[in-house]
């Protein structure tokens, strides 16, 4: 009664073949990640030391550490966040909670999507024109960070809007029915239940910002500047550009130095991503409905 027919056998074979094929694809997907990390750890690991992290490059960048670049990256990311998070979160709240659905807001949404698709080198040139020259900030942390901020705004806006929209509409309706204004509803119900998601988006933005090279190279990042920046109008070194320079512009750099810089950079990004995953887990644990 339950004997398998020829068709059953064929179905089962097909099913096994596809499962194997898709599994293989998945394996191929993670292979590059594993190879990259292994090479970086093996070749760059020996370079890592307190001295490497906390001293300036020396001997025409063929020796010494990465401290100014590390500090510079922190400056660039921090100032970029200060600029992009308030603007991004505020506009996402406006778009998700206040804006009527009409041709104008649809146009704005389209613009945001397109902004996300603009190549980083184009952002770089925009930054030169808008911040370095027109606004008169010169090549500086401020100009470079604002360029990064413009580039990452779509990420913040989209992440914020999605976490706002994850809060059920019924909660808002219940508040409005009680005579709460839109702002009271946002402040007391919507934001407390989406803040973790917004933070996740912000952290992802940090990890992306810290690796960007093109947007900062003409707007404020210096090839070699073995001093720490004193303010936002100074130029600074940055890890990403430092890696580019060591690999392509300076002769006779010991291999382990280049890999060391790459390892620190990817370590920063991975640490940020881990933090972001941690937030997601925390968010799920605290879910209130």
């Amino acid at each position: 009664m339950f004997a398998a027919t020829a068709l059953d056998h064929r179905n089962r074979r097909t099913q096994r073949a596809f499962k194997a094929l898709f599994g293989l694809m998945t394996l191929m997907l993670i292979t590059p990640v594993i190879i990259i990390l292994t090479v970086l750890v093996v070749k760059g690991g020996p370079a890592l030391s307190m001295e490497f992290l906390f001293s300036a490059p020396s001997n025409g960048m063929t020796a010494g550490g990465i401290f100014p670049a590390l500090v510079g990256t922190v400056w660039l990311v921090a100032v970029a966040l200060l600029a992009s998070v308030p603007v991004g979160v505020a506009s996402a709240i406006y778009l998700a909670e206040y804006a009527p659905d009409n041709w104008f807001t649809r146009l704005i949404n389209l613009a945001i999507i397109n902004l996300a698709g603009v190549p980083s080198i184009v952002h770089a040139l925009f930054g030169v024109g808008a911040f370095v020259l027109f606004a008169g900030f010169g090549e500086s942390i401020l100009a470079a960070s604002l360029t990064l901020a413009v580039m990452t705004l779509p990420v913040v806006i989209v992440a914020t809007r999605e976490s706002l929209q994850a809060v059920p509409k019924a909660f808002r309706e219940a508040c409005w029915n009680m005579g709460a204004t839109r702002w009271q509803t946002i402040w007391k119900v919507v934001l407390p239940n989406s803040i973790s998601g917004i933070l996740t988006g912000v952290i992802l933005e940090v990890s992306r910002t810290s690796g960007e090279t093109a947007p900062i190279m003409f707007t404020g990042a210096a090839l070699f500047l073995p001093f720490l920046p004193q303010g936002v109008l100074d130029q600074t070194m940055a890890l990403s550009l430092h890696l580019f320079v060591l690999s392509t512009q300076v002769p006779n750099v010991p291999e382990h130095l280049e890999y060391g810089v790459a390892l620190v950079l990817i370590g920063m990004v991975l640490a940020m991503n881990a933090l972001s995953i941690g937030f997601r887990v925390y968010l799920r644990g605290r879910k209130k409905w």
């Binding site: 909660f171 219940a174 009680m178 005579g179 204004t181 209130k288």
Partner: protein
Amino acid sequence: MVDAEVKLSVRGLRISYGDHVALDGVDLDVRANEILGIIGPAGSGKTSFLRALNRMDELDTAMTVEGDILFDGRNVRDVRNVYALRRRIGVVFPLPVGLPMTIYDNVAFAPRIRGIRKRAQLDEIVERCLRRAALWEEVKDRLKALGSLLSGGQQQRLTIARALSQDPDLLLLDEFSIAVDPVTTMRIEDVLRGLKDELTIILVTNLVQQARRLADRTAFFLNGELVEVGVTEALFTGPVVDQRTRDYVEGRFG
């Protein structure tokens, strides 16, 4: 009954969503301290009617409301402070909506947004409203627990307590018993009977017998039309005014 004060007076109400007309030509008076039942099959415009009363249509760009709604003699369209209007009208939805905050904060929400900050005063309001919604005994020891994690029936009573915390004149209930077990439904019905002395209730229900148990008068909506409104018992046993009403309440269609 004829001389009873009119709480809500609706004239020539028409509600549409784009080209689709949800409700048209509705003239209806709701008397103070009565329970008015509204029955009718799905899609007959009952929920749209409730949404028009506290101007929730303004939050839905597709919804258009025409005609006059007089609340205590004032046209609700002319009320400048829509938030004050909504505070005087409590609403209970078909599916209970416990806000994702503590039980206490759920009930203290409305008092807080109208500016009450004193702890003792809030405590008093929370206890009174939870008692009136027949929920106090079950939750008095865990007011700090999440309101959204209560059972369906408890959440629905929490929603009623929250509506009462607005200190409303008018309570709108939209098929409140859909997600509630029969025993809890009976308890809530008792609560509603007790509330009648203090406020006016409009009870939209898909259960004809619930209207019969609770409502002083009942209105029958069908396909966007107010077919008939009258003393509830007359709809069931009185002389037939409109055959469609009698068919509906006797379960011959719908």
